[in-house]
Amino acid sequence: MWRWLHPYAKPEATYRLVDKLLPWFAAFTVVSLAVGMIWGLAYAPADYQQGDSYRIIYIHVPSAIFSMAAYFAMAVMGAIALIWQIKTAEWAIPAIAPVGAAMTVVALLTGAIWGKPMWGTWWVWDARLTSELILLFLYVGVMALYYAFDDVRTGAKAASILAIVGVVNLPIIHYSVEWWNTLHQGATITKFERPSIATSMLWPLLVSLLGFKLLTISLVMMRFKNELLRHELHRPWAQKELSADKELSDGV
């Protein structure tokens, strides 16, 4: 497998691969998101308890899941960068972090908005929302550290280490927050727990999950392409690639 992967340590080859795959990912993102959203919003039945407000779940749950998955992916990239000294893996960190942070923000926003009709306030220190908030802080820390150094490689290494530390901490944070929450208030109904969800609601959720997965990957790819170009700006292939879309640059 490593022999197969090895060429992709070369930025240009990676760029070509990502460039080729991105349109497919983008297209499937649009399709699956459209199907998932329309299905979830219009065709899935209303919840007998929460009415139609539960439809926020079709964004909230996928974005929450992929905000964590993106952090995990970032940590994996960090590990690869540290262990095998592969530069392209280092550059994946600034590509993934803002996308993951955006997913976290979406999960927080939808969670807060969902909370308003359910609990009557925009913000409740519910276990999942609290861990999402902490996750956002972790993302911010990684990004701040990455950009804090004058030398990009040092910054990438520092951010990699922090990402890995964060991933180890993530479950601990999650469970401690859950424990803290149950300790302090048994009264709050955990609305986000769905012990059994009807199949008619589950299917659109699964499609949305797929859509968000593809969306996350596509956004990361877009940013990753930029990172590759940024670090290779002095190379002829990058300059050629950038001057190819000339029609954009006329106004500059």
Binding site: A112, T121, W122, W123, V124, W125, T130, L133, I134, F137, V140, A144, Y147, A148, V177, W180, N181, L183, H184, Q185
Partner: protein
């Protein structure tokens, strides 16, 4: 060149540099947000307790966040000689330095005001008190920046002046804290807040007009 243009040039230069070092301005804000998050985690998420202590938490966190950013206010300019050049301008130093203080306020005070609704939301502050919180920050933060600049200028020559700045400044911040939290609390209970806000405004006006003299004196002292 008239002095107003010079003032704007100093301000514009500082803002441009801040745009190149975005994390310097953003880190104190994130710090503020995290500190505010720590309180519910430490005390418990009960809305009643949080509501009770919210004004104090937010203002204390705001004071700490302000202190974080102060260290760099004059330090870079001092280290690279730009501050010397400001001393050598025909315009009075006390006047040109207000441009730097204004830049500091735009980068630290104003974001605090804009962030305040979010903080209020996190700490379950009654909606009636939101505007009072924002207003108290809007009226109080100019004084924070001006007083902070005095502390920063006084400790310029020290290599590690960070903790000393806090020791100097926190006592000076106390009146602001008292009147601001009182205003927010009163607003939450539906009481009149004009007196507190008026006092805050008076403190700010007084500080912003008089502090530049102290800042300029401190900077000239640091030139030795």
């Amino acid at each position: 060149m008239n002095s107003w243009q010079l003032w704007r040039s100093v301000l514009a230069k500082d803002l441009r540099i801040a745009a190149r070092r975005r994390s310097d301005a953003l880190n104190p804000l994130m710090f503020l947000l995290m500190v505010v998050t720590l309180f519910p985690l430490g005390i418990g998420p009960g809305p009643d307790i949080l509501e009770r202590i919210a004004p104090g938490i937010i203002w204390v966190a705001a004071l700490l966040a302000t202190l974080l950013g102060l260290d760099r206010l004059f330090k870079d300019d001092y280290n690279d000689g730009s501050l010397e050049q400001l001393c050598l301008l025909p315009e009075p130093l006390a006047y040109t330095l207000t441009a730097k203080v204004a830049a500091h306020w735009l980068l630290s005070g104003l974001p605090l005001v804009l962030l305040s609704p979010l903080l209020a939301l996190l700490l379950n502050l009654p909606v009636d008190a939101w505007w009072a919180l924002a207003l108290s920050l809007l009226l109080g933060t100019p004084a924070l920046s001006a007083l902070g600049a005095i502390g920063a200028a006084l400790t310029l020559q020290l290599q590690r002046g960070g903790s000393l700045v806090s020791l100097i400044l926190l006592p000076l911040f106390i009146p602001l804290l008292i009147f601001a939290t009182s205003a927010v609390e009163n607003a939450g209970m539906g009481l009149d807040v004009h007196a507190q806000l008026a006092i805050l405004a008076a403190i700010s006006v007084l500080t912003v007009t008089l502090a530049p003299l102290a800042i300029a004196a401190a900077v000239r002292m640091s030139m030795n």
